[in-house]
């Protein structure tokens, strides 16, 4: 049991790291990686929702009737998304503003419903927790990596701290919509080159 929980945790960090291996939940990845700050906060919020909903779904898996399974999952997820929204408004309002509608949109992030449906509704609490945490951290790392690249090249800063000299004019393309797609595509290419090991 313990071993499998560890496995569930680690696979989210590389072997099945979202969004690269599971090509789902692309929209937030594109939208919030303009800067490292929003990337990290989005990652944390998603992890929070992922872990909590995994745990609750796993706990209630015997109670929920099959016919309304998905609807119930969605309510659980939406509840935690709202919790995250309220907490972020209260304690990190500036980030909340930058995330905009992508905060409530966590509710439709395919990764979360996908994990609830594929794993948490079948397995025990421990495993579900580990899975959620692994996937969440993997997702956060991906966001962090992509956001770092985009912010450094596209804005000349890292966590809003300038990294180049005065004369550098940032490559704004990277933080605009087209650059988001292109850099995610190229990053996916690099991940494919590195393989799954």
């Amino acid at each position: 049991m313990a071993k499998s929980a560890v496995q569930e945790f680690t696979k989210g960090l590389w072997a099945e790291i979202p969004p690269f291996r599971l090509v789902l939940g692309l929209c937030p990845v594109l939208a919030v990686t303009k800067g490292v700050e929003t990337g990290i906060f989005m990652g944390i919020a998603t992890t929070f929702v992922l872990v909590c909903s995994n745990v609750i779904v796993s706990l209630l898996r015997k109670v929920i009737p099959k016919g309304v399974r998905i609807a119930c999952f969605i309510v659980v997820i939406a509840t935690f998304v709202t919790v995250a929204e309220l907490l972020m408004q209260a304690f990190a309002y500036s980030v909340f503003m930058k995330l905009g509608i992508f905060m409530p949109l966590i509710v439709v992030n395919c990764i979360i419903l996908g994990r609830a449906e594929a794993l948490a509704s079948k397995k025990g609490v421990g495993v579900s927790f580990a899975d959620g945490l692994g996937m969440g951290i993997g997702f956060t790392l991906s966001l962090f990596a992509l956001a770092s690249i985009r912010e450094i090249i596209g804005n000349g800063t890292f966590y809003e701290i300038p990294v180049f000299g005065e004369s550098f004019q940032p490559f704004t393309f990277m933080i605009e919509a087209p650059g988001a797609f292109v850099s995610l595509g190229l990053m996916l290419c690099i991940m494919n080159l590195l393989g799954k090991k």
Partner: protein, 191 residues
């Protein structure tokens, strides 16, 4: 009237939901490899997005706002959309089986499509009145369909091209989406 036209142009092209607002990318990349499925998905999304826009507008205006529970927006909207999709599915299956055969497989996927939810959120955030909400959601949906169909056309060719192995499929699809979004800058400032 003029502002409705501007709103349409803006929502179809200038603020294209897919290419400028990063919403609905999973179906964008998932079903664009074949023109037929792309067209099916586009039609399904148009259908649901317009309905979802209208229903969530009503819920927001006549339930959430009067009772001052706007913080329940996320829960309420997703429930509205999920049950809407369910009803549409049941309705089509019973009354228009031909259409159901075409759109059916796409409908469940749409529940968790962030473009639909996104449009619902945008409409209510912008505080449109009913007519504007209706026009905007229709226009966003058309913009989604347009981008999807154009993309599917390009994608069919890319599938026949000599794309290097590690870039094949999703990776090159994303790069192409980026280029398309670049091209959509053409409409900047037009509305």
């Amino acid at each position: 009237m003029g502002d409705l036209i501007l709103l349409s142009v803006s929502s179809i092209f200038v603020n294209n939901i897919l290419l400028m607002q990063y919403l609905g990318n999973c179906p964008f990349l998932g079903v664009s490899k074949k023109m037929e499925t792309a067209v099916g998905m586009a039609m399904a999304v148009v259908f649901v997005m317009v309905l979802a826009g209208v229903f969530t507008w009503v819920v927001n205006t006549y339930l959430l706002k009067p009772f001052e529970v706007e913080f329940l927006r996320t829960v309420a909207f997703i429930l509205v959309i999920a049950s809407l999709v369910q009803f549409v599915e049941m309705f089509l299956k019973k009354s228009i089986p031909a259409l159901y055969a075409g759109l059916g497989i796409f409908l469940p996927l749409i529940t968790t499509n962030c473009a639909v939810m996104g449009v619902a959120l945008i409409l209510n955030k912008e505080e449109y009145d009913f007519i504007h909400a209706l026009v905007a959601s229709t226009a966003y949906a058309i913009g989604f369909g347009l981008a999807l169909v154009l993309f599917a056309g390009v994608r069919e060719r890319i599938l026949l091209a000599r794309v290097p192995k590690p870039l094949q499929d999703t990776a090159i699809g994303l790069v192409m989406a980026g280029m398309m979004s670049l091209a959509f800058f053409a409409f900047k400032g037009m509305a």
